[in-house]
Amino acid sequence: MKKRASILLIFIMALSVVFTSCGSTNSNSTNSNSSESSSETTTTPAKNIKLVYWTMWNETEPQGQVIAEAVEAYSKQTGIEVELNFNGRDIRKNLQPALDAGTQIDIFDEDIDRVNSTWGNYLLDLEELSTKSYPSTNGKPFTEVVNKALIDIARQVGPNGRLSSIPYQPFAFVVMYNKDIFDQAGITSIPKTWEELLEACEKIKSIGKIPWTVDDAYMAALVGYHLARTIGMEETLKIANDNSWDHPGVLELAKDWEEMYQKGYISPNAAANVWPAGQQEIAQESVAMYLNGTWLPNEIKSSVKPDFRWGTFAYPSVSSDGDPITYNNIGGQCFAINKNTQYPQEAFDLIVTLTTGKYDTKLAQESLGVPMGLDSDWPEQLTEAKTVFENTTNRYIWAVGMENSADVNAKIKKNFALLISGKLDAQGFAEAMKN
């Protein structure tokens, strides 16, 4: 009896929670699940088609919100129902099993390397579809109205060198810095070499700010970049793939960063920064520089003061044996279509909606990103990044390969953190990495 009573009471309580919460959400939700409403707002669906789109964005992110709007507009216009699934970054783990199992997924998006390399086998060849013209391209083929450099990169990394993804939101992985701090410190020109960087650090330190920071998510990229600047991209990739750190360049890298630690140029919190703690240090204006992607201004938009002045420059060159500053990781997110889709044209139409015209502009605006439209303006925060992007001659893959293996990544994170907190010296770092 008692058991039944308590179960009943629990049930009633649960129901009351549900009822009180149900009401408010229904009246307040704006962006969630546009797919449910789309079939009700159109008169008669054209052919009862349903597209399923898995996106890497979260519902709360600006990109997620704009995409939801665009998808709803598209549905209204064409009568095609679109199921939009906000996976967040977990798409990196969820997508493949779902595709393998034959779940209906027509469109998905993610970073350009991931889409084309990891998911290459699932992509539909887009060469033909992209040369057609669409309502928003004013009679021109699609590929002629969008950012050519990006399309070229997408073609380059595509399976068999074929265009299999449509890029958007281009990014460059560069040093993001706080212009106000630079001005205050009296730095007049962007550092192009390691020595110039050290000089700039000294000036920043003298006005009481911390020059540099990093956190656990981007340590491998920092090491990869610095190593590539020291011994060149090929050697770096070899080290990353073979996990063999015997190269003398490793010791040089260690010495450089040991110096950064000893001179106090790197944030004392850096070794313990669990992402996104490093970004917050920039937002609070206690740190001046951070090697990150041009998405950073968007990610800390709500934490920075309204008139925060962003600047960017390419990671400085370190040694003549290494790469010059025209070697950078540039890329973008991109849309791709499942090669098993039943509606390739409709799916591509949706992609066109997202990469041209009104929604392309809006997507860029809301997320402090770059529009795909040809010759469009980069946002103010990223003007200097445009130069880096356009001057890049050779492309690094993500973190110059240092994140390809979980083992290598973990090893770097541990030892580099010890190095920049003074617990390991340069020699110690080199030794530890050799294991």
Binding site: S21, T30, A283
Partner: protein, 288 residues
């Protein structure tokens, strides 16, 4: 259980002797409240203030909009509805399956009894991921992924061995006389179980149900794999995705608001349920 009775001045002295005990548990509890209290305060703050360490001053006032935003932009009520559905249905059915099994294993001798007992216990030792991979494979082929009934089915099956294991001592400790008396009265064995024996192990059932409830409520991994769709997510996965998305938008205050929104009803349910544990354990465990 016979409670000892001490009266009058003895009580005062007794409590004094227990002072070190009071101090120890109080420190622990205070720490817990600081932890949770900070989060609640942070949820009314802004991200800048949190990271500046200026939170406690509340210089810009209380930001209730964090809650509004967290509620509107995340489908919190859906997550709750899902969790409630999953836990209540699963917990009820688990007991229906496990109690009878536990009963016969504890009180009847038959061939294979020990084997079955060891079998159930061994299930406890099998880590979830051993099971998840093949099940995921089968389920994918049957295209049953993102199906809430499948998830419930899995929750039930996974918790049956533990529940059986847990109820064993409770059944075992019941005196044989009850069954004999019931048999003499002409009660069938099945009826004996449902009408007499089961109610007698109420404290055990209540306790294990609460454990199961909390396990399923907070369950994360299986839901992540089998019910990741926005509409099917339970609270734990939903909270995780909310936290992740707040990280990408740098909205820490909003994230804490989301944490509190998820935590409060859990907390209230818990307070309510814990009274039931106590009532059950002290009320039902009368010996002899």
């Amino acid at each position: 259980m016979v409670k000892s009775v001490t009266g009058g001045t003895k009580t005062y002295k007794k409590h004094l002797k227990l002072a070190p005990g009071y101090i120890i548990v109080s420190i622990w509890v205070i720490f817990t409240f600081i932890l949770i209290g900070w989060v609640i305060l942070a949820s009314f703050s802004t991200t800048r203030e949190i990271f500046d360490g200026q939170m406690l001053k509340f210089s810009t006032g209380f930001h209730f909009e964090n809650y509004v935003k967290a509620w509107k932009t995340n489908k919190v009520s859906v997550y709750f509805l899902n969790s409630v559905l999953y836990t209540i249905v699963s917990c009820s059915i688990i007991v229906c399956i496990a109690a009878p099994a536990s009963y016969v294993l504890a009180r009847f001798r038959f061939k294979g009894n020990n084997l079955l007992q060891n079998m159930f216990v061994s299930a406890l030792g099998i880590p979830a991921i051993m099971i998840i991979m093949p099940i995921f494979s089968v389920v994918s082929k049957l295209e049953l992924t993102n199906n809430r009934w499948l998830l419930i089915f899995l929750y039930i099956c996974i918790n049956v061995p533990f529940t059986t294991f847990f109820l064993h001592p409770f059944f075992k400790n019941l005196p044989k006389s009850f069954e004999e008396a019931a048999a003499i009265d002409g009660c069938s064995p099945i009826k004996t179980f449902w009408v007499i024996m089961l109610p007698l192990v109420q404290p055990g059932i209540i306790t294990v149900t609460i454990f199961n409830f909390i396990t399923i409520w907070n369950e994360y991994f299986m839901a992540l794999i089998f019910a990741n769709d926005n509409k099917l997510r339970p609270v734990a996965v939903g909270l995780y995705s909310m936290v992740q998305s707040m990280r990408y938008t740098g909205d820490w205050a909003g994230m804490f608001a989301a944490v509190v929104i998820v935590f409060l009803p859990t907390f209230i349910l818990y307070i309510f349920l814990s009274e039931k544990i106590i009532a059950g354990v002290t009320g039902g465990a009368i010996k002899g």
